[in-house]
């Protein structure tokens, strides 16, 4: 909802405009465990694009690796619908999965209201986010 959908919007934009040259775009939705399907020798690199609360000003973005952060997310464990990407990566590593190089492009949300639109703050910088993804994936 709201800026929670920024990752999806970016993925749809890149896919819809045929900008994915040399890489694939995938929508994992809310099931972080789907990432496991891409932990195989054929995968060179994974860039996860998502809304991330980092304590930055709304709209700011940052590229980081899983080892650079500690999750503050509390997963109550009541439902299959909760998930934490960082925990999935940690779990896979702990049982011997060969985890490819993973980077996360985190975008600080301005609003998480239950609406279908991005906030004006993120809309205004949407082009920057797309450029950042393309730049990262082409390197």
């Amino acid at each position: 909802m709201g800026d929670d959908g920024i990752g999806l919007r970016i993925v749809e934009h890149i896919d819809g405009h045929g900008l994915a040259h040399g890489f694939e775009v995938k929508d994992l939705g809310s099931d972080a465990m789907k990432l496991l399907s891409y932990f195989d020798p054929g995968t060179e690199r994974i860039l996860v694009v998502d809304c991330v609360k980092m304590g930055l000003p709304p709209g700011e973005y940052r590229l980081f690796g899983p080892r650079e952060v500690a999750t503050r997310k509390i997963v109550p464990g009541l439902s299959t619908h909760e998930g934490d990407l960082l925990k999935v990566i940690e779990l896979a590593s702990s049982v011997g999965y060969v985890v490819p190089d993973i980077a996360i492009l985190g975008i600080e949300p301005a609003s998480m209201d239950p609406v279908m639109e991005l906030s004006e703050t993120l809309k205004a910088r949407f082009g920057e986010y797309v450029d950042a993804v393309l730049s990262e994936m082409r390197d």
Binding site: M1, D27, G29, D31, K73, L78, T80, H81, L86, G106
Partner: protein
Amino acid sequence: MSAENITVNVHHVTRVEGHGNIAVNIKNGKVEKCEWQVPEAPRFFEAMVRGRHYTEVARITSRICGICSVGHTLASVKATEDALGIQVTPQTRKLRRLLKHAENFDSHVLHVLFLVAPDLLGAPSVFPLVPTHTEVVKTALRLKRFGHEWGSLLAGRTTHPTRAVPGGFSELPTTAELKTLRKRFDTEVVPDVTPILDLVLKLAPAFPKFDRPTEFMALHSDEEYGLYDGDIQTVTPDGKKQLTKVRDYRKVTNEYVIPRSTAKYTKNRMESYMAGALARFNNNFDQLHPEARKVAGLLGMKPLCSNPYLNSAAQVVETVHSLYEGLGILDELIKEGIKEEPLVKPTRHGEGAGAVEVPRGILFHSYVYDKDCMCQGGNCIIPTNQNHANIQLDFEKLVPELLDARKNEKEMELALEMLVRAYDPCISCSTHYLNVEFIR
């Protein structure tokens, strides 16, 4: 009655990192408050589909949930097809049934092995099990991955599927792709499921004992164990069954609002009813695959089972059912070969309803279309909403029993959390952003 004071307050912030609160206050041994509190998740989707062409509706409603996306898509296309007089081909029905089994398998593996198993092993999560049960965790991850890939082959992707559309499939798997999938069942899945079943059977005695006479609602089909199609069936503790056409779903769901909760409740012949794997098990046991019935026997389960904790055990039975039924459907499709088929077009307009069983229970969608096949309105009733009243009544019986058994606060909290977990609730509107702090 004891003179204890106990407070259980399990608080999860709605639409942020969790959903639902457990609130129990016991003063001087008397239960003053015992509530399963679930703020209603807003369902803007019913407004969003208004004015949309029939080809767009399922693409919108599949986004009600990222985990149950396949189920929402199938319920949606079925409701649209019912409203617009679209009769799909036998090949389409078969592929959709296979897709339904994929969703069931994928979801149940996740729920049983990653959420329920830690409870039964006395662990707070799956992580402490890594050093002690390494091979089990690895196997669970492999099975989860397979379930996702099985579903993706048919649906395009399992989150917000692209290929299951009104009238058929926008893109079909090839026979060669189905053969590759079939081979993976033999070489990967069946060998992996066997040790998992052994573990679950060992853990079975750890399922909490609890019983409350309950009405159970599920799809029932004369052709097979109801997952994709059928009529609505309920069974009450006396064994009496009631069958209702899907179009009359409102007559058996009877949604209502109660003052203390923003979540709607439902009821039918009793004060509440349960949906989910246990409901399907109780309604359709005889139609389970023989291998699944065998597992049920080993678990000591037979209908009518009214221990909601055993919903997770019923999911294990269904995992085996979906595995072997999926194999059977795959073999049929491979033998027949996949044929290119155009999408079936509308032949009328009006109101229609569709129901499927998602892993968490029976799901209803209904829509009204005008003569231009534009949606004029819709309604969705998800299984978790249907279970709220039942969870509340379970709590009201369970808490005094826990008190009489002299359980302390922590034990009571765990028992109540395990009960909620057993229902495998669907948090349809939780946000899923990351929340991190940088390590300096």
